[in-house]
């Protein structure tokens, strides 16, 4: 009977009254690779971060080798024998491999505070050799490839005699060959009796390397199955769940056949690969995919916020070059970013000034002075048209609720005469009531002939609003679905496809 290393029961965790984990459980045996899967926001990272000491649980118990433990910080976890290898590696790039491995526990010489670097390097060498890694311990970590840096992290974990290794999306930044090496390493670790938690979206890999699979959804534990006995389709179905939607509102298809935006040959290294798509007038085009799939990157590339390797843009039939968001506005393209506060709204300024921010040039009097009265008037018009709840246009933006702040950002882009609007997670952080108002607004804008790209990670939202859906996975367009044929499962399938068909439309 294999040892049970970790048992987690009834774990609750909330951030600012938003529940990330409710009654979650997890079990890990020695010598097993246990995959943990779920959509973004399912709670899997949160649960593991609690185990690794990065977060503290609000409720529940954690048993390590049968003993109840408290894990107040990452160092405590490490000392227990639990190490998490995060996606953003915890290494000091200017220091060497040996120095990184032993940071905080450097071998000292007899004289206090004096380092014994000879022993440091020797011990590091031994550790590396025990894992069949042929690295020079005096190499600066910053000069290593990501794959090798990961190996250094694994070596460091082992130097703490870790019995539990949590790996968060370990192959996200690796090539196929490097992933193979990682799997060899994982097998070696498994043979040593180490328990590995493998958080990943890559279904084929999970089928290949995992012994068991645990699915989480919406902050809750769903099920655990032996990996060999569960199909990829079933895994996806469990991840997505059978939500009962309200009868799908009829999506008025006012979309004409006019193409207002064509994106061709958009490339940027591995982040964006050969993206091609079109957008019609009056259409709401949904962009679905997992976080990190590249959707925001596409939007920012279109409006010139980030440099690209290649892109062809045809706006309303005219070939254009967009070097900066200012150019984008000139061609009528507005981008409502994911994070309102840092990128969309100047919270310290009032509503009127925020509304006018993208089009101040229009409000200049002959002498070049900003015409406040005019801005106020325009802002007032939008407040009425969009039903923005604010005592006046002079109210500071930060005092408005999330939903109303979002409307102010929309008003800003309308004032700037944009008719191609890219919404990135438009209802994030907005309560249910305000959400439906935003949806109504989007439909109204589309009806008026504006063309909308809606990036969203909420599948119900995408299904509800989009006339057409494009799905991205790891920088590629992997699927296109019309509103009628789209389902949550189909979208998830495209969103987790590692080597997908590149869609051109």
């Amino acid at each position: 009977m294999t040892d049970i290393l970790v048992q987690m029961h009834g774990i609750d965790k909330s951030f600012d009254n938003v529940a990330a984990c409710v009654g979650c459980q997890f079990e890990l045996r020695a010598g097993e690779v246990h995959a943990l899967i779920g959509e973004n926001g399912a709670g899997k990272s949160t649960l593991m971060k609690i185990l690794a000491g990065v977060y503290r649980k609000d409720a529940g118990t954690i048993l390590f080798r049968g003993q109840e433990v408290d894990i107040p910080n990452p160092h405590a976890a490490q000392v227990l024998g639990i190490t998490m290898i995060h996606q953003e590696l915890n290494l000091m790039p200017h220091l060497t491999i040996a120095q990184n491995i032993f940071i905080g526990r450097e071998p000292r010489s007899a004289i206090p505070y004096l380092l014994d670097d000879a022993r440091l390097n020797q011990q590091a060498q031994e550790l590396l050799a025990s894992l069949h890694l042929n690295y020079n311990p005096k190499t600066r970590v910053g000069g290593l490839t990501v794959a090798r840096q990961q190996m250094v992290e694994i070596t460091k974990a082992l130097s703490y005699n870790s019995q539990v290794l949590i790996m968060d999306e370990p192959t996200a930044a690796l090539t196929e060959a490097e992933s193979e090496e990682l799997f060899h390493m994982i097998n070696r670790l498994r043979d040593k009796g180490i328990g590995i938690v493998y958080i990943s979206h890559r279904m084929e890999e999970i089928k290949r390397i995992a012994d068991r699979v645990t699915v989480m959804r919406d902050g809750q534990y769903i099920d655990t199955q032996p990996a060999a006995e569960i199909s990829i389709d079933r895994m996806i179905a469990l991840m997505v769940g059978r939500t009962i939607y309200e009868s799908k509102p009829e999506i008025p298809d006012h979309a004409s056949t006019d193409v207002v935006l064509e994106v061709r040959n958009l490339n940027r290294g591995r982040e964006l690969q050969n993206i091609n798509f079109t957008l019609k007038r009056g259409e709401i085009l949904g962009f679905a995919g997992l976080v990190g799939a590249g959707r925001t990157e596409v939007a920012r590339a279109i409006v010139g916020a980030d440099p690209v390797d290649s892109i062809e843009l045809i706006v309303k039939g005219q070939k254009v070059t967009i070097h900066s968001p200012k150019d984008a506005v000139k061609y009528g393209i507005g981008y409502l970013s994911e994070d309102r506060k840092p990128y969309g709204l100047i919270t310290g300024m009032d509503v009127a000034n925020n509304v006018g921010m993208a089009s101040l040039r229009k409000f200049l009097s002959a002498l070049g002075i900003v015409d406040d009265a005019q801005i106020n008037a325009v802002a007032q018009q939008h407040v009425e048209a969009l039903a923005i709840k604010t005592p006046s246009v002079k109210q500071k933006a930060r005092n408005l609720s999330g939903g109303n702040q979002q409307k102010v950002v929309i008003a800003k882009w309308l004032t700037a005469d944009t008719d191609i609007l890219i919404f990135d997670e438009p209802t994030r952080g907005i309560d249910v009531g305000a959400k439906s108002e935003i949806y109504k607004l989007l439909n109204e804008l589309a009806r008026q002939g504006k063309s909308i790209i809606m990036i969203s990670s909420e599948l119900p939202e995408i299904l509800r609003m989009s006339h057409r859906i494009l799905v991205m996975c790891e920088g590629r367009l992997t699927g296109e679905l019309s509103s009628s044929e789209a389902t949550q499962e189909k979208i998830m399938q495209y969103a987790t496809q590692r080597s997908g068909v590149v869609m051109a439309s």
């Binding site: 160092h75 000091m92 905080g104």
Partner: protein, 334 residues
């Protein structure tokens, strides 16, 4: 005296590897120094005179000591603007203890070092525990130390007794080859500081954690390093070196001059930066700092010998700083 820069993984060309190694900035700084020396030697026969060379070394001493201390701070990714006025405060306290209170010189010296250490410690606490940004915290200390120095000195210089021998600390000569060359003690103290500083940086826990803090403080913290404590230690160390610089400058002038000090921090930081230590932290060396300090003093001296007005010397020094850092940034980016 250097951080080991091991082999970088294959895939980068040999030339690229050389360029990217840490040592290159020091080599470049040293090459620049040689070029400047050659240039001035050719421009004026007075440059290579023994007396002038001794003068250059002496002129570098105080800045060199300050620069050694602040190198640690900059490697952690921080900055210390107070080192100039803390130096003056230390000088004032040393002078008060010796000349006014009448304590023996060693006690005065201890007082000066302690002053610097305490000021540095306070900087460290404000930065590490109160989370005030280093720029702001040390800017505040700059003014506090300046004010205290003026208050304690009653706005007037404090002189040492001619007979006390205090000035020998700086201008006395222990090391000399009679008739050939004399090395003033201040210069010995500077090189001594550099050797001690380098040893600490490369061979001790404090040095290791200095680099760790600058490279990825969060990673170090997660690994169990008490980052607050070691940050405080770094700023305290810089303070002690400021104290030492204060003693040396007081010895040179045989007095504590309370109006001096502000402005010295910039020369020290310039020396560190020219020598290849990055302001963003994580890498650097004492050797580079020393070379950088000499670049500045040789430049100043040579231009003066060429009768270039002092104002132009400043322009040139400023331009050199910008060019040095820019070249270093380009080197890192390629």
């Amino acid at each position: 005296m250097s951080m080991q820069s091991g082999a970088i993984t294959s895939g980068t060309s040999y030339a690229n590897r050389i360029l990217k190694s840490e040592a290159i900035q020091r080599i470049l700084a040293f090459a620049a120094l040689l070029i400047i020396i050659v240039f001035f030697s050719l421009s004026s026969p007075n440059f290579l005179r023994t007396q002038n060379i001794e003068g250059i070394f002496l002129a570098t001493a105080v800045n060199g000591i300050l620069a050694v201390g602040v190198t640690f701070v900059i490697i952690t990714g921080g900055i210390d603007l107070s080192i100039g006025t803390v130096m003056t405060l230390a000088a004032v306290i040393t002078a008060k203890l010796v000349s006014e209170v009448g304590l023996p010189i060693p006690v005065g010296i201890l007082g000066g070092l302690l002053t610097g250490g305490v000021a540095g410690f306070i900087n460290g606490v404000v930065i590490a525990r109160m989370r005030v940004p280093p720029f702001v915290a040390t800017l505040g200390m700059l003014y506090v130390a300046k004010g205290l120095a003026l208050i304690l000195s009653n706005l007037a210089p404090i002189y040492f007794d001619r007979g006390s021998g205090f000035t020998n600390l700086a201008t006395g000569v222990i090391l000399q080859i009679p008739g050939v060359i004399e090395i003033p003690n201040a210069v010995l103290i500077m090189f001594g500081s550099a050797i001690v500083g380098s040893f600490i940086l490369v061979r001790t826990i404090l040095g290791r954690y200095t680099f760790a803090l600058g490279s990825n403080e969060e990673a170090a913290r997660i690994s169990g390093v008490n980052t607050a404590r070691w940050k405080i230690a770094v700023y305290t160390l810089a303070g002690v070196f400021s104290g030492l610089a204060g003693i040396v400058i007081a010895a040179r002038l045989n007095s504590a001059q309370p109006a001096l000090g502000q402005g010295y921090e910039l020369d020290a930081i310039a020396a560190v930066v020219i020598g290849g230590t990055s302001l963003s932290g994580g890498e650097g060396s004492i050797l580079g700092t020393v070379i950088g300090a000499f670049v500045i003093s040789v430049l100043t001296n040579g231009l003066r010998i060429m009768s270039v007005p002092q104002e132009w010397q400043m322009v040139v020094t400023g331009a050199i700083i910008i060019v040095a850092v820019f070249l270093d940034m380009i080197r890192r980016r390629t």
